[in-house]
């Protein structure tokens, strides 16, 4: 009995520890920047946003095929992790869904922003809500809890179930900036991945949430806002307001191999190929640009 007792204590402590330390102490070993030229063997580690991760992984694969001596490691962990790790100098690139300026505890002046793609997001509802267009005011009402039944916005007599995204996640920050504009969201369910949200909205009557464009499919119904359809062209012209950049931050100016990789991310090859293929919007297509405070200007 005693033996098992001790063992279980360890297992339990170990499990708690593993989960918790995993976020804090990502490998600090693989920084780059020591090599003088990109021809030399170099290691680049990019950590952060899980929304951006698949794109960077694919791009890294192609990049390594062309530059055999450079190895690029891509890890998830979330935007917060990415930004704090790159600030500490533990990794070469921190991937983020949000501007570094908007995260407390991050000194954005020390980081250099590289915008590599644009993501559009659309509110989605369960198919039987009977709604396909709402006004921005109505959408705000739904997510702040003022509107609780679909019939108030012209749909069926059905209770609205709000499914929000995890607090502090980039998707939620983008959505709240564009739609709630400072108002407080109603307390509701929170899910932390696009996949789960899609599954829940498609199976729960009366559910509403929001998804990145690449996750829109037949199982859920995307809403138009003020008759503007959620598509790439409308994002490019800023007619569709809910969109954000995907950032890759470096500490100070990017050097050698890292600079090469970031240049590659911005090349026509990636922007017109991978970026579009994976459901993001190319940074080259944008007719407007947004700064960290949310001001939009024509390019």
């Amino acid at each position: 009995m005693k033996k098992r007792n001790f063992f279980s204590t360890l297992v339990m402590l170990g499990a708690v520890g593993a989960v918790l330390t995993g976020c804090g102490s990502n490998n600090a070993s693989s920084t780059n920047g020591k090599s003088d030229a990109s021809e030399h063997a170099a290691k680049i580690t990019a950590v952060g946003s899980t929304a951006l991760q698949p794109l960077v992984e694919k791009a890294a694969g192609q990049f390594q095929n062309e530059n055999k001596k450079i190895s690029v490691t891509v890890q998830g962990g979330g935007s917060g992790t990415g930004l704090s790790q790159v600030q500490d100098g533990a990794v070469a690139i921190g991937n983020s869904d949000v501007f570094a300026e908007s995260k407390s505890g991050i000194d954005a002046s020390k980081l250099e922003d590289h915008q590599v793609a644009v993501v559009g997001m659309a509110p989605v509802v369960n198919k039987d809500a009977g709604v396909d267009n709402v006004s921005m005011e109505q959408l705000k009402g739904i997510f702040t809890g003022k509107i609780t039944n679909w019939k108030e916005v012209g749909g069926k007599d059905e209770k609205i179930t709000v499914v929000n995204r995890a607090e502090g996640s980039g998707t939620r920050a983008t959505f709240e900036d564009a739609v709630l504009k400072g108002a407080k969201a109603v307390k509701s369910q929170e899910q932390d991945s696009n996949g789960t949200v899609q599954k829940i909205v498609s199976s729960t009557p009366g559910a509403i949430s929001y998804l990145a464009f690449s996750y829109l499919n037949d199982s859920v119904k995307p809403l138009s806002i003020d008759k503007v359809k959620p598509n790439d062209e409308n994002v490019a012209s800023n007619k569709w307001k809910i969109w954000s950049y995907e950032h890759m931050y470096t500490k100070g100016k990017a050097k050698t191999a890292t600079a090469d990789f970031l240049k590659y991310m911005n090349s026509k090859d990636v922007q017109d190929g991978l970026v579009k293929k994976m459901g993001y919007i190319s940074i080259h297509d944008m007719k407007v640009q947004k700064d960290a405070k949310g001001n939009v200007t024509q390019k």
Partner: protein
Amino acid sequence: MKEIQNKLLQNSKATREDRFGKVICYICIGFIIALVACILYFITSRGLATFTKDHVNLWGFLTGVNWNPGAVDAHGNPEIGALPMIVTSFSVTILAALVATPFALGMAIFMSEIAGKKGTKFLQPVIELLVGIPSVVYGFIGLSVVVPLIRKTFGGTGFGILAGTIVLFVMILPTITSLSVDSLKAVPISYRQASLALGANRWQTIYKVILRTAAPGILTAIIFGMARAFGEALAVQMVIGNALLMPKGLVSPASTLTSKLTTDVGNTVMGTLPNNALWSLALILLFMSLFFNLIVRFIGKKGSIKK
């Protein structure tokens, strides 16, 4: 003469081997103890930073019902009240243990007392299989089967404590069962013989003698099950709904300590208040697991079978 003297004074091969084995053992033990100490120190120091560095009121942390570390309330204090999560964590844990115990006990009695070798041979792998299924699979089944079922039966979204309880019930069932079997089997055969010799039938023997004797072991089993339920994160997170609300019923979305941790940990920046607040939640979890272990130790000491 010299040769014999040397032989007597030098260590023999056996002694050297013995010493070598001992050193390896101590190194391993030392390493593990250091590891545990590190984890304890790390979580405690981070978890306490919320109170020492950010000056959050401990009482407010334990009893507050609003969790919004990024914002401040009317008095200018950050809103971090963990009570809804604490309540939900305890609710799912206790409910799951309540539901699982009768099933586990029934199975344990069947396996140790009633079914012969054949029955045990069949049931053992069934239980072991349940242990081997990864928690994400339980969560996925919960999300695809349990949640829609609850939604159809009770209305609402289907997410909530009930769904969490059902998933955890299956997850802790094998833990409680196999530990109970062990403690039932540890009851000396002489007790059974004496009981039968006095004219008790099988049911009376099981109920009045074996269960009573094995009670501390069974309690330990239940507490181990509860500890597992309390610490389970992924499966619960998938079915609990992750709403930071005080649970109003069994089918309203709620959030446990662990589910909050898994959802938020990647989105916060090390060293800031939202991150420290999460560490404080982890500290609560750590204290609870220590508490569960203390109970187990206490029960073990009090009620061990004296042969």
